[in-house]
Symmetry: C2
Subunit: 433 residues, 2 copies
């Protein structure tokens, strides 16, 4: 048992200042859990404006803007990285692990891109590398994957792991808003950034899915391996048709494994209205995990924010500190050697929803049906509605039975060549989750 | 690192045989996680009829009906107890811990009644005591309480933790069934036992809540400390009125803490229809936990059954085995010394729903209102419906604002004395979860 465990904090933004606050305010409770005090020894921040309200009660001597001073501070056992982004966070984590420090981070991008390599370094150095805060804010997810669900062969992960897009889709769903209006509102409320691409194009969700899929399937799934489609092409009309068919639309991060392959993708999905994921509204996150023993379990909560993220970061710090006092590193050593390969998107099999603008003439449906038939695609339902009497344009909404992605892409190309088809306005995959 | 870790299994019923099956079928994966093989060395069962299908592939030599033979088997490091019930399971667990064996159990009754004492013994002997399977089947709950949520001061726990009652209430809700009909159906489907008292009177839920509240609030909450009311008095009429008011009815296990006290109770609750717990149907379990940092997190899944329970038991075994190989016991040492006392039920404050049969005369509502007023109870809504024209009986449904339990009990006694009041058919607490 050590007399004290020293903490170095990289980053003093929204999350970092909250983490520091908890370390100070809950010092006594945390010491009780660890067996000795956790002492904040140095904080690296961009500005040393320690008069800021968020630095209240934290000694001015703790702050530095100097990287060398930070890393040369004696008595640091655990380094918390909450800068975010790939650079310089990745370098700092590597340096910390190489120096034999335990690392706790909430950095989804670095873990998604470099987690396997960082785990190898942590293992070599016999130190812990924890990142509960990187996915789903304070919702316990990484720990369940590493410990609680280890007896399971995981079959699938279906996750709403981006609060911004779920907020936008919820507004579109409940209020019939168009995407642009819902996005603008989300930006005004601070739920979406000025440049929202990272969220709405599914990049943030890719990072988080890469982390969960790598842990869950014991293989390295890189963000670049993940097919991602964003939500910007979803229209309020799609919600109306979806409801008519008994569905709503969610941006899901999906990972499944079968035999020697894994499939990983982020895209809008038609989800049955009575499914639990359909009921997850606003900025909340929900992660449905299916295992061979446990069946379906779902984890739900606030997926972001300083307070929930600090809950995860501090839990990781306590766990690391308990390890230090026992003279061990993290006892669960994630493996990434299952050899499972990411399946090409073309080989995926799902159901589809399509919304097609056509000229409103007799025989149009027959021509469209023939394209599907020629590509071996079986139609499950058709809705046809006249939309513009003058222009004689109608809208056809088709759902298919399960079909290979490759066949659907061919059918979409063939449809585009039909003179009666004005435009394929949308195609959305359908999942029975 | 040991060459092998030996397992003794107490109980070979539905759960026990499934646990043995996983230990055999997943031996290679589990060995990879632990670092050495987990070897089943002895199984104590009531019958040694090893020709049973569930014993397939398990060596006949492993089975014994003899307690002494079981405990004298050499090379057992971990004892798994899945007999269930208080006796002899409690004695066996005590004996196992006293002999320096690590214990894994799914026994809610023993942990609820004797968890604090067993934890003290485990601590003294420097061995692990784990019981993830005791609450919520395979849903990770005990581990989140012990590790992932440790940075939080927990404010409240709101849990659907009895699948049988949730199944019955769901049938009543969706199909308008009476309690007796829904119970009979549950029994026919195997969801309720021939003697259903343990489930429908809330005893099972009390055990589970005692475990969660003790861990969450760091104090010993005994099942006997928990006020429990069952669901047998709920009528299909109550669901109709609840819907009219924007609610449904669930059996909730509730624990809250404030200052130096905790409040713990199991009873039917009017839950807002748009709440997440209102959407948990059938035999599923859902546990909503509110913490000062994490906000609201919800854990959902199958709350019972051999497969989900084996998921939890095996996860505990793997974690224990990893500890053994590191020469440690469980690093999280739950504490029960917060000194928080269970608040008397009379001091509780909730809102209420009441359904009262009255004679259908002018001025009745005024008399009832006076009783409430005299007891300092503020009425939130009133519905009055004529139910029997010939007998001149009407039904009045009242919801109140927040009121002390003591005042409501006094009001109920006063109402019973009013000649115009035929019967108070029901009173159900209302919670905004």
């Amino acid at each position: 048992m050590k007399r004290e465990i020293g903490i170095g904090l990289l980053g003093f933004g929204v999350v970092g200042s909250q983490v520091a606050r908890v370390l100070v305010d809950k010092a006594k409770t945390l010491a009780g859990q660890v067996g000795c005090p956790l002492v904040l020894r140095k904080i690296k921040t961009k500005r040393t404006d320690i008069a800021r309200p968020k630095a209240k009660g934290i000694s001015a001597q703790l702050f530095t803007t100097d990287t060398e001073e930070f890393f040369n501070t004696p008595g640091i056992d655990i380094i918390i990285e909450v800068i975010g982004g790939e650079t310089p966070a990745h370098d700092y984590m590597t340096r910390a692990l190489a120096a034999g420090k335990h690392v706790v981070t909430a950095n989804k991008e670095v873990i998604a891109k470099h987690g396997v390599e960082l785990h190898a370094l942590a293992r070599k150095q016999n130190v812990g590398l924890r990142y509960e805060g990187s996915v789903g804010g304070g919702i316990p997810l990484i720990a369940p994957f590493k410990y609680d669900l280890v007896a399971n062969e995981l079959k699938g992960i279906y996750a709403i792991i981006n609060g911004t897009t779920n907020y936008i889709l919820t507004r579109m769903d409940k209020e019939g808003l168009d995407f642009a209006v819902a996005l603008k509102s989300a930006q005004e409320l601070g739920y979406a950034e000025a440049n929202p691409a990272n969220d709405i194009e599914g990049i943030d969700a890719k990072y988080k899915l890469a982390i969960l899929a790598s842990l869950g399937f014991q293989t390295q799934v890189r963000p670049d391996d993940i097919h991602a489609e964003g939500i910007s092409r979803i229209g309020s009309r799609d919600f109306r048709y979806a409801h008519e068919l008994g569905f709503t639309i969610k941006l899901l991060a999906i990972a499944k494994q079968s035999n020697n392959s894994v499939e990983v993708r982020v895209h809008p999905v038609l989800v049955p209205l009575d499914s639990f994921l359909a009921k997850v509204d606003g900025v909340y996150n929900a992660i449905l995990v299916e295992g061979d023993l446990v069946g379906k379990v779902l984890f739900f909560g606030e997926g972001a924010g300083a307070l929930p993220t600090s809950s995860a970061v501090i839990a990781d710090v306590v766990s690391t500190a308990q390890d230090i006092n026992l003279g061990i590193s993290d006892k669960a050593k994630p493996k990434f050697d299952s050899g499972k390969k990411v399946k090409p998107m073309a080989d995926l099999e799902t159901r589809f929803y399509l919304r097609i603008n056509v000229t409103d003439h007799p025989g149009v449906l027959a021509q469209i049906s023939r394209v599907f038939g020629d590509n071996g695609i079986s139609i499950a339902s058709v809705i046809q509605k006249e939309t513009d009497i003058v222009a004689q344009v109608a809208e056809v909404v088709i759902t298919t039975h399960t079909v290979k992605e490759k066949a659907m892409q061919q059918a979409l190309a063939d449809l585009a060549k039909l003179p009666v088809v004005k435009e394929v306005n949308n195609f959305i995959r359908v999942e029975d989750v």
